[in-house]
Symmetry: C2
Subunit: 195 residues, 2 copies
DNA sequence: TTTATAACATACTAATTAGTATGTTATTTT
DNA sequence: AAAATAACATACTAATTAGTATGTTATAAA
């Protein structure tokens, strides 16, 4: 990787952390360059403007991270009930990057930017759609091998589960990690009703 | 109501709409006073600073509105499965103030402010707790009259339902009102498993 | 090795921000 | 009616913002 590419990635990953903690719009370019000890000239050499950096952040940092943690593990799943529960538990309880106080970076960005910036909306939609599809695939597979009832609507369940996840990332911000634990208990009950 | 109280309420309700559409931090005091044709002197006569206005907005506009729409109808419920579904459908489909593009004002504020401002966090927590309690009460009542199974954990279900609502308000921002409809279908299935 | 270009670095600008200072005018209280 | 206070109105300030202008220095192509 060239020096320029390294600088660019450095900006993106530091910006990602700041945006995760403080939101996109309230994270200033000045803050980002201060935390990276990169100058303004370098920043605007790599990105035409702040929004272009924001989109790059979603496509080059957020999307790959979520794909690895939330999509890939489901595509090979043969037992959706078990694997969906374990994925959620992994994300909510055992993931060391996420902080209950700051929620989920994707959910945060949807909340903040989807309504006011079409480019953000589009990039974030791709993340959610690809998760939705993966959940759908895992359920379809389980219907095929009779671990889930065949009258279960895979896409419907996927939307319901994603809603639950996004929502508990929100309520967790005020109620703390106890909300995660209670949510997981009822998620387990709900998933069981699909079998 | 005195002239001063009217001015104050005028500021709060216009600010509420702006904050709902654009977020709290990106809604400037200048925008608020421009949209109300109230001067800066008047604004800072009624509120010590922007954050005090924000808290007043939650306590005096958001809390009463959510209490009327989401809490009161549940306290007298004798059939939680039916009433919870209808409440959700009313909120998501038939409510004319909410816009799928902008989500739910309470969810938005939790997302944006809970982590960075303890006063906002506290005021918003009260809203969610009171909804959670109301959902709990409606379920307990239904357990009492045998319309819901007695092994159902009321508070657990309440957390699960609130998560689903908050989450679909989020995903709705990118997927549109179709997400609401699909979510409601699966919510109906889920609620039925409690009976 | 010259030349071109990528990769920075520094200093600046115009707009916007929350908040203040200092007034005037309307409304109560005495 | 006089005095006090509530309810404004206007002009300002200091800090922060995204972005630009104009350079210099490192890297790579010719």
């Amino acid at each position: 990787m060239s020096k320029g590419q390294l600088t660019r990635l450095n900006i993106l990953s530091k910006a990602f952390e700041l945006v995760y903690r403080n939101g996109y719009q309230t994270t200033s370019v000045d803050e980002i360059i201060a935390s990276t000890s990169v100058t303004k000239g370098a920043f605007y050499h790599h990105f035409k403007n702040k929004d272009e950096m924001g989109i790059a952040l979603i496509k080059e940092v957020l999307f790959p991270a979520m794909n690895k943690a939330m999509v890939k593990p489901l595509l090979s799943s043969k037992d959706a009930v078990k694997d969906l529960y374990e994925l959620m538990e992994g994300l909510l309880i055992h993931n060391s990057f996420f902080n209950v106080k700051y929620g989920c970076p994707a959910v945060n960005l949807i909340e903040e930017m989807a309504a006011i910036n079409p480019n953000f909306n589009k990039a974030l939609t791709e993340i959610i759609i690809s998760w939705q599809k993966a959940i759908g695939v895992s359920i379809e597979n389980s219907i095929s091998n009779n671990t889930i009832k065949d009258d279960v609507k895979a896409d419907q369940v996927a939307t319901f589960i994603i809603s639950g996840y996004s929502g508990v990332r929100n309520t967790g911000k005020i109620l703390g990690s106890n909300a995660y634990k209670i949510y997981l208990k009822e998620l387990r009950n709900y998933l069981k009703t699909l079998t």
